[in-house]
């Protein structure tokens, strides 16, 4: 009964979304105030019904209702409750429902926080959101219905891929989707702006909080995914340039570019058509990211739904959404008049360079991800593009970007005196060289790239510190004067400060953990000892234990340093009989400056030695700390005063400027 209610709620949500689209888009075109005002309630209705459907599916998973096909295929009665719940989105049908739920949540948030927009802009933005919901609800109902019944119902389910039964991955999809889908709001604003034929600084100010929200969630989502890959896949790495990882990186790069160029529109009314294109691009890449990998077009270990009929449906939806928006862009973009002029050396110019580097990086990653497909279609050959390609292409783009990040915030709008700024930054450059020099002297395993990475991280760090010091006139305005200035700085400044610091920390983490990783790969028997990075690791043996839905071989490693007990590492090799799969559970000891990472491999010949891999990964925790800092910076900016919703609705934002 409850699954049928959920199914029915989805149908009602589809109708509500259709009404929302029609009222919003036609109402704005006809300037019909009643239609436009009714768009909000339509969006709320849609939100309500999608929520009911999602709860119904969650209920079916929690009570293990195996008469529902999705539950029978992806759940099992012995699975812990947490993974029963996260199993809701651990499969294609459920993850689509989560996608639409988040779309509806953003729609509802728009209803709540868009009261001060002009009536037509608000109606159009909600109308576009409704259009997206309509498309994807249609897709769910007709091509991936999660509520289909199974008759006869099996005694038990087939279980969830054990790799997905993990706390890191349980919360990875919701965050990722909050990021992906969050860009739909920027997309809706961009399309609405094109339909209005007008975009100005207040438009940019209204879009920015949504972009910040999506960007911060996406950053956390990507970090969670990479953290999971780090400790679960057992290779000691944190990024593998897998198509699915790339799919999440692409909208992040486009979204980062969008975030920065939005401020040019907001402050200088320039780069308007570019910003609109970026907003379309960020969401299009999110769509491609979510759906391309699920349609069987690309090969990836992550793609868990490969079905050509769905693929065609998805491609039709992409054509309609992305193609339609690009047609509109081609027709209308020339109407968006930019006002502010600027010299190449200026804040605007710096942000344009930032955009250029980010978009080029995105284009290269996109090309690298699609290259196997291009080759297969054109000359029928199977190839795979690996990390060497991406490292060679992306590093020369992102390292100059970090260098520019150290200068950009010093550039004034319109025109900058470059030499004067470099004059202020000499101390920063010196400090960065000093850090690189100390590292070069301390560590024997030095490579130019490592020193460059660490030097650039230090450059960004000190440049940021100096920026703060200059803003508060440290040592010049006296302690109380500086404190007063610190207090007066807008939150958006701290947002940028923290986010850029996060990138510095992230870069240091990536550099150190990739270039100074040490490893020991051994065949060990109990009692054997091995030394890695100053730690003595003694293999105590393996015991077989059984978990709630798996069997496990658990190894114990006693770690000492200079005779002092440090910890016991207990990596596992788990076997999930229901799903018939093995997983490795790495054991990690972290000092926050480095991780000691142990993986238990296979046992040779039944009772021979165990294959053991030990890694020492310097600064690897900084990667996630940096990402969290960056996301937190986004949150700080979001809390800035100028984005607060004002109580009184302003109806006169666009009409006066409607010339084009």
């Amino acid at each position: 009964m409850i699954p049928e209610l959920g199914h029915y709620a989805l149908v009602l949500a589809l109708f509500a979304a259709g009404v929302q689209t029609t009222l919003g888009l036609l109402g704005a075109k006809r300037r019909d105030a009643y239609w436009m005002l009714a768009t909000g309630p339509a969006a709320s209705t849609q939100f309500l019904f999608v929520t009911i459907a999602f709860l119904a599916l969650t209920h079916a998973f929690v009570v293990s209702d195996f008469s529902v096909t999705t539950v029978a295929k992806y759940s099992h009665s012995t699975k812990p409750l947490l993974y029963k719940i996260t199993g809701v989105w651990g499969n294609h049908e459920g993850s689509m429902l989560l996608w639409v739920l988040i779309l509806a949540i953003f729609g509802q948030a728009l209803v709540a926080f868009s009261k001060e927009l002009s009536h037509t802009l608000r109606a159009r933005v909600l109308g576009i959101q409704g259009f997206l919901s309509t498309g994807f609800l249609f897709f769910i109902l007709f091509a991936s219905n999660p509520f289909l019944r199974l008759d006869p119902a099996p005694m038990d389910g087939q279980g969830l891929n054990p790799l997905l039964q993990d706390p890191g991955l349980a919360f990875h999809p919701p965050f990722l989707y909050l990021g992906y889908v969050g860009f739909s709001v920027a997309f809706a604003f961009a399309i609405a702006g094109l339909l209005e034929g007008h975009i100005d600084s207040s438009w940019a100010r209204r879009v920015r909080p949504w972009v910040l929200t999506a960007w911060a969630f996406l950053t956390i989502g990507i970090a969670l995914g990479s953290w999971w890959a780090y400790y679960e896949l057992g290779w000691g790495g944190f990024w593998f340039w897998d198509p699915v990882e790339n799919a999440s990186l692409l909208p992040w790069l486009a979204g980062t570019a969008l975030l920065h160029s939005l401020s040019v529109v907001e402050k200088r009314e320039s780069l308007k058509s570019w910003v609109v294109l970026l907003a379309i691009l960020a969401f299009s890449l999110s769509l491609i990211g979510t759906f391309l990998v699920r349609s069987g077009v690309l090969v990836s270990v992550h793609a868990f739904a490969t079905d050509p009929t769905r693929g065609i449906f998805i491609l039709a939806l992409l054509t309609l959404t992305i193609g339609g928006s690009l047609v509109l862009f081609a027709m209308r973009a020339s109407k968006l008049k930019s006002v502010g002029n600027f010299e190449p050396l200026s804040r605007e110019g710096g942000l344009l360079l930032n955009n250029l580097l980010l978009v080029t990086a995105a284009a290269s990653v996109f090309l690298g991800t699609l290259y196997p497909l291009i080759l297969e279609v054109l000359i029928d050959e199977k190839v795979s593009v690996g990390p060497p390609f991406f490292n060679v292409i992306v590093l020369p783009l992102l390292l100059p970007l970090v260098f520019a990040m150290g200068i950009g915030p010093y550039l004034p709008w319109k025109r900058a005196d470059f030499l004067a700024i470099l004059g202020r930054l000499w101390a920063v450059a010196l400090a960065a060289f000093a850090v690189a020099g100390v590292i070069a002297a301390l560590y024997s395993g030095k490579s130019f790239l490592a020193l460059l990475g660490v030097g650039l991280a230090a450059w960004l760090f000190f440049s940021n510190l100096l920026l703060l010091a200059e803003r508060i006139k440290l040592f010049r305005a006296g302690p109380s004067g500086s404190l007063a200035r610190l207090h007066a700085l807008p939150l958006s400044f701290f947002g940028m400060f923290v986010a850029h610091m996060g990138i510095a920390v992230l870069l240091a983490g990536i550099t150190a953990s990739t270039l100074w990783q040490t490893e020991q790969i051994r065949a060990m028997q109990s009692g054997n000892e091995v030394t890695i990075a100053g730690y003595r690791v003694r293999f105590e043996g393996v015991e077989r234990i059984s978990g709630p839905n798996y069997l496990s071989d658990r190894g114990t490693f006693r770690v000492t340093r200079g005779g002092r007990e440090i910890t016991n590492l207990t990596p596992e090799r788990r076997y999930y009989p229901i799903e018939g799969q093995w997983t490795t559970e790495a054991a990690i000891y972290t000092t926050w400056l480095a991780d000691l990472y142990a993986v238990l491999g296979e046992q040779a010949d039944g009772d021979g030695p165990w294959a053991v891999r030990l890694y020492h990964n310097p600064l690897v925790p900084w990667i996630w700390i940096g990402a969290i800092l960056a996301a937190f910076g986004g949150g700080l900016s979001l809390a800035d005063r100028r984005y607060r919703v004002k109580g009184k609705p302003k109806t006169k934002i666009t009409p006066k400027a409607e010339k084009g």
């Binding site: 058509s273 391309l292 069987g296 077009v297 990836s300 081609a330 973009a333 018939g580 010949d605 039944g606």
Partner: protein, 175 residues
Amino acid sequence: MRFSFLFPLFVFAGLLALFFTGLGHDPSIVPSPLVNRLAPEFNLPSLEAGEEGLKTADLMGTLTLVNFFASWCLPCKVEHPLLVKLKKEGRIRVVGINYKDKPKEAKRWLAERGNPYDRIGADSSGRVAIDWGVYGVPESYLVDQNGRIRWKHVGVLTPGDWHEDFVPLIKGFEK
């Protein structure tokens, strides 16, 4: 309308063409180079001296399931009951290749759980498994009457795999 504003649309049109063509390809099939080839040459002793071992010629004449297993392998225990059932049904001959194992332990293992194998070859060095392209135990191969490999299954053979992949092939060969 400026031409440069049409550029993104052209790029997207190109992408769409690519995606539509790419949709027909099935990425999940990783072809095994050995499928539809003759089984590799091998000649293995049995677990116990005096018993007949297993060699390539033994695979001729009847449809055979070649199963790589080991007593130390946890998933092998999971698939074992299915093999025993297949032997009972008698629809297909099952032979085993005991991979990197001690004959004594393999014997005990089979004594405890029942022996589904018509014949067993002891591949204690793992050399034969390399020739067959075995990733790790368990793996199962369907070999036809002429000694040609027709299907390869990696990992635990579940009843579902058996009915979906093997049974249709076997029906084809029985005609």
